[in-house]
Amino acid sequence: MAAERVSHRARAGRSAPAEPGDRPDRPLATSSAGSGSMDGLLATKEIVIACGPGGVGKTTTAAAAGVMAAVRHGSKVLVLTVDPAKRLANALGLDGIGNTEHRVPDEAFRAAGLKPRGELWVAMLDTKESWDALIRRHAPDKQTRDEILANPLYQNISGKFVQSHDYIAMERLYEIHSESDYDLIVVDTPPTRNALDFLDAPQRMADFFSSRLLRWLIVPYRSRLVNVATKPFYSIADRILGTEFLADISEFFILFQSMYDGFVERSESVGRLLSDRRTTFVVVSTLEAVPLREAEYFAEQLVSRRLHLGAIVLNKVLPDYLRGSEGTAVADAINERSDELSKLLAPKLAAVDPAMADTDQIARVLGEVADSYLNFQVVALREMEERAMLSVVPDVLATVPFFDTDIFDLAGLVRLGEQIWD
């Protein structure tokens, strides 16, 4: 909702909080801010939830953390992922396996030049399949189960209803955690409209099924019209939605009522698991302004909800060499003196290949090189500024440099993982 979401603009005035207590004057830092390691964090937690804005490399980071825990700690690790890139899914053997947990074979590690230690398991989240499993578990009898599975409203909810992804991701996590023996489960969260949606999902699901409105909907149709309290709602709802649709809705909820207790209890357990001491959250972001604001807001919310913010991973950060002042001076000098420099350098190049002695061309290349450096420097400096202004600094603050190629296999994941490890 708009009211809950502080606009970026309003939040931009960092140094002067709108209201006292609205924003902390000092960063929300723990005593050991930035000094911890991912190595230590993953060694002490059982559940890692990777979250953050879309498009920052959340899935890849989650997978890299899982691979590292398996390789370095020798742990039995499950990476529960939502939407991996095709090539990464292929590399992990995730293609077409859906909800089933699947072990990455030792050969895949050897092929990537790694010594297999521990066990790496992967699974993909299939919302529809997970919902169906949930219904099978909670349905009181075979007939109710079949009727729910065939109900058009149910099919809509399980297949299309966006918020149901959030809930089902957390529900799957609970199920796996309580029924299996992984040392560590790394969860990649689904893309949401709002990064907080999945945190609220269990509570929202419990509220939904225990709502007074739900009871109104499932009273037999005749008694609704004589009930003074509910009559205005039904007369308007009838006009808008049509009686038949309302009857469909009622039937769906009557079926669901039989599973009510199980559902509410379950979603409460799922909620408890999120705040459990064994669970930690890793917020992933880039240092671009818009995603970073979103990530920061999310980190603040985790802290204020007393959830464990274990780490912030800053991904795709431009390399350090772009920020040196010497580089600026050199680039400026190359730019200003490109004509003169090209003449002086031409003999050197002609020695390599006579075709490259064209001084105009050398000058042009020198100019492009210098401009490119200065261009990227603007972005790199902006990134550093953003990092320095972070309002929340957890124990672990990891920076991953920009990789010039895509990460799509185990070796790539380890390359990324090593950056966040120590």
Partner: protein
């Protein structure tokens, strides 16, 4: 000329982080600069649109923020109130709270109901000709199809009732390629390209809305031609580089490393661009926006992006 801005209703979508709101804001700004009366509406209510115009937060009631450019934020409860008043002539003054709550509840169980209030509001603005163009900063590509297909979803679930009768004119507006279009924004990276290709197929199969353009954001400049690249490689070799260090009196290696990074980045991105071109119907125009090496991301950036879009559209 690309007739994109001659449409009446533009939905702008894209994977998170590709610059969807930037492009929506810039498209609306460009159209208003060209003399159109434009409404931009933010659906996600994150407050980003206000940031891109550096203006106060927007609300459901539209407000003129620049000459000819109006902005609003979608709010389904306010939309329901307006809908009941205008379409159904149901007097609900003062009782909207509980009703909205009830409606919210039904909408949670019956997907499409909430979406229809959102899409319905835009179609209404188009039907009433309040604006020349309505630009919607729509949900991310994962959610847009559900929104655009809401009228059909409602049609299949609701057999009678007022909502059912309302879906017909919505479908008419959404299905007319001269009225409504979808703009998909992506960057030349692996996941955004995959998602855009997938989106194009889903929009074709599951909705009646046409994909009017794909905007490729953050395209890196090409530094060198082929022969120039050979010169670059030679310049970066140990002999010439050491000489350059002497001549400029400093370490030139980082400057060359940066250029090398830029070249590989662009090369990786080119392969994704090629995949995009192959994966999208050739009738759909691709508009390219340059990577912006700037410090800010406010109105100045929005103006810059609008200018680039204008060039791509042949203005």
């Amino acid at each position: 000329m690309n007739p994109l801005l001659d449409l009446k209703l533009l939905f702008v979508t894209g994977k998170g982080g590709v610059g969807k709101t930037t492009v929506a804001s810039a498209l609306a700004l460009l159209a208003s600069q060209r003399g159109k009366r434009v409404l931009i509406c933010e659906v996600d209510a994150k407050g980003d649109v206000a940031g891109f115009y550096e203006t106060a937060p927007t609300s459901f009631r539209e407000r003129e923020i620049l000459p000819g450019l109006f902005a609003m934020t979608m709010d389904t409860e306010a939309s329901l109130r307006e809908y009941l008043k205008l379409q159904l002539r149901i007097p609900v003054v003062g009782r909207i709270g509980p009703l909205a709550k009830a409606f919210d509840f039904v909408a949670t169980a019956a997907p499409g109901v909430r979406e229809i209030l959102t899409v319905g509001k835009f179609c209404y603005e188009v039907r009433e000709r309040h604006y020349d163009l309505v630009v919607v900063d729509a949900p991310a590509s994962g959610h847009i199809v559900g929104q655009l297909a809401a009228p059909q979803a409602i049609n299949s679930l609701v057999k009678v009732g007022l909502i059912r009768t309302q879906t017909d004119w919505l479908l008419e507006i959404l299905s007319d390629p001269r009225t409504t279009g979808l703009v998909a924004v992506c960057t030349p990276e692996e996941m955004p390209v995959n998602e855009t290709i997938e989106l194009a197929a889903r929009v074709r199969d599951e909705t009646t809305v046409q994909l009017s353009a794909v905007v490729v954001n953050r395209v890196l400049p090409e530094l060198f031609g082929r022969q120039e690249e050979a010169v670059f490689d030679a310049l970066g070799g140990p002999g010439p580089l050491a000489r350059l260090d002497e001549l400029v009196g400093g370490d030139a290696a980082p400057v060359f490393d940066a250029a090398r990074l830029a070249v590989t980045m662009r090369r990786t991105r080119t392969t994704h661009l090629d995949r995009l071109r192959q994966g999208i119907d050739s009738a759909v125009p691709l508009l390219y926006l340059p990577y912006l090496f700037t410090r800010s991301h406010g109105l100045r950036t929005t103006r810059q992006v609008a200018a680039s879009l204008g060039e791509e559209l042949g203005f």
